[in-house]
Amino acid sequence: MSIEIEHINKRYGHFTAVDDVSLSLPEGQLTALLGPSGSGKTTLLRIIAGLEFPDSGRIRFHGEDATDVHVSRRGVGFVFQHYALFKHMTVFDNVAYGLTVKPRRLRPGKAEIRTRVMRLLELVQLDWTANRLPSQLSGGQRQRIALARALAVEPKVLLLDEPFGALDAKVRAELRRWLRRLHDEIHLTSVFVTHDQEEALEVSDRIVVMNQGRVEQEGTPEEVYDHPANPFVFSFLGQVNLFHARVQDGQARIGDLALPTSTPEDQPQGHGLAYVRPHDIEILPDGSAQGALAAVIEGITVVGPTARLELKVAGGKDLIHAELPKSRLRSLGLSRGSDTWVRPLNSRVFMDNGARAS
């Protein structure tokens, strides 16, 4: 079941939570709504679910207008960040809830409910917890039960609001891989909200990057990561270094280094900013390579197999960050205070529109 979102607006007083958002979420895909807090991603998800009402705009499920359909009849599954399990019910009763509250003529028989609940508990690999109370389970287990509960009513779409937000790092990584596999099995149109770019990149088929109530970019994780549409998307998807550059003839120049840009060649010369990811900064032993910039190492942090360097480029004001394998750091024989040379391998140049003249 595809979801079409048409010109949705939502304001709270003077605050615009969702600002004219239109999206089409294709059937059977797992879409991530990614953005910082206050970007409107959760509000949008709640509007899709029917928990909030848009000021204007329509929501369609597979072409059918669902905007005015009550939440209890919209046929969505929803997973909350803090699980929202019914504490006084056993795991079994929690999962069975959606089936037992159906009107009598639609309600499956007791045996049927039992089979379906146990099948779902097996699907989330927690069938042995059926008779426990939610308080006896760990956070990761509770979230899987919440997911089983949401799936019990056979929803047309599955919506997850920061589903891993309350879990610790290791459980979170396990659970998101597990969610990905589960999605590959059941192919339910799913939308999940996250502020964690790594999570979005790892789990989803599509990413919608949101900021200040608007969609900044949408596309596959690769498209969004490799071809960010604007500086916000670039910096939100990972750490980034900024280089001031002169843009001329379709090239950005930093010293005698020339970087390619997407600006047409006939664009007037101007000031631009080159965005470079830490792992796209090459550390060179000497200044012989064309375009190398002299730099001093201000700090080194080794995280597992990766070394992170903080460098100060000669004449530059800001620190730049570079990442390289620990072994490469060793072979270069670098330490704090060493003089070295850096060169951006890959960059994305955006024109600096006014404001910051340097």
Partner: protein, 277 residues
């Protein structure tokens, strides 16, 4: 092997706080109760039985326990509704109403009793209209229930209110998304969560009603066998210097109330079992 009274803990002061608690409870609670049980113990069994099983006394037990139970049940239902309104809705004058709820705590009970009887007497503001409907409140058992309901109101409201405030809105949203209507959500999600607090409020209102004296005696009319509550009989006996008789009836009240409260506490403990870990 020594019996471990305390677990090793980084929170200091177990010894001194427990000691103080026992001392304080002893001073405030146990010594007066003990003294009065001792007083009762001086009576012969026959005297005791005669004092507590007199027909007039038995009639007063029925009224006291019956009216207290009805009043506590009324407060359970309407107190829960008041708490719901105060927590869930925003309206003009909410803070005033919130403060009003505590008035039965603060007002001298005799004042409340006189106010109630003035209102409900057959010539009073409310009483004259109820009279047309054939309802008499002042000087009837109904009047006793009205007075006991009045003094018990804050207990249910004040115990349910904080629990309702803490109740996660997401639980109701989850229930709605799973297809439940409002009534089902109330019955299967909200009420079970409030049950322990409701029971506590009920127990407090019931206990308070059992011991109430001041407000009831004005509105009850105190007709023997009809509208005499047990605390009134105790005071009456004490005024006639029949201290053993008063103590005997008091003992019966005390034991009955204790057993009932114990039962309610057990019920409450059982309903709250899922919140413990």
């Amino acid at each position: 092997m020594t019996l471990a009274l305390r677990q090793p803990s980084v929170i200091p002061g177990f010894g001194i706080t427990l000691g103080f608690t026992l001392f304080y409870l002893g001073l405030i609670l146990l010594i007066p109760i003990g003294a009065f049980l001792l007083y009762t113990a001086q009576m012969s069994w026959a005297d005791f039985w005669q004092a507590v099983s007199h027909r007039q006394v038995v009639a007063s037990y029925k009224l006291s326990f019956g009216a207290s139970l009805i009043a506590a049940l009324l407060n359970l239902v309407f107190g829960a509704i008041v708490a719901w309104v105060l927590v869930r809705y925003r309206f003009f004058g909410k803070r005033v109403i919130d403060a009003l709820v505590d008035l039965p705590f603060a007002m001298p009970t005799a004042v409340a009793g006189i106010a109630l009887v003035t209102l409900y007497a057959s010539t009073g503001w409310v009483g004259q209209y109820l009279e047309i409907l054939g309802l008499r409140v002042a000087y009837t058992q109904l009047g006793v229930v009205v007075a006991l309901t009045y003094i018990g109101l804050p207990f249910v409201v004040r115990t349910v209110q904080p629990v309702l405030e803490d109740l996660d809105r997401e639980l109701e949203e989850a229930s709605a998304i799973l297809g439940a209507n409002r009534l089902t959500t109330l019955r299967r999600v909200i009420l079970p969560a409030l049950l322990p607090a409701l029971l506590t409020g009920f127990a407090l209102a019931f206990a308070r009603a059992l011991g109430e004296y001041g407000s009831v005696i004005f509105i009850a009319g105190n007709l023997p066998f009809r509208t005499e509550i047990t605390p009134l009989l105790i005071v009456a006996k004490a005024e006639q210097y029949d201290y053993p008789g008063a103590a005997a009836i008091g003992t019966v009240m005390l034991l009955a109330a204790f057993v009932l409260l114990l039962l309610i506490n057990a019920l409450q403990w059982w309903t709250a079992r899922y919140t413990r870990r």
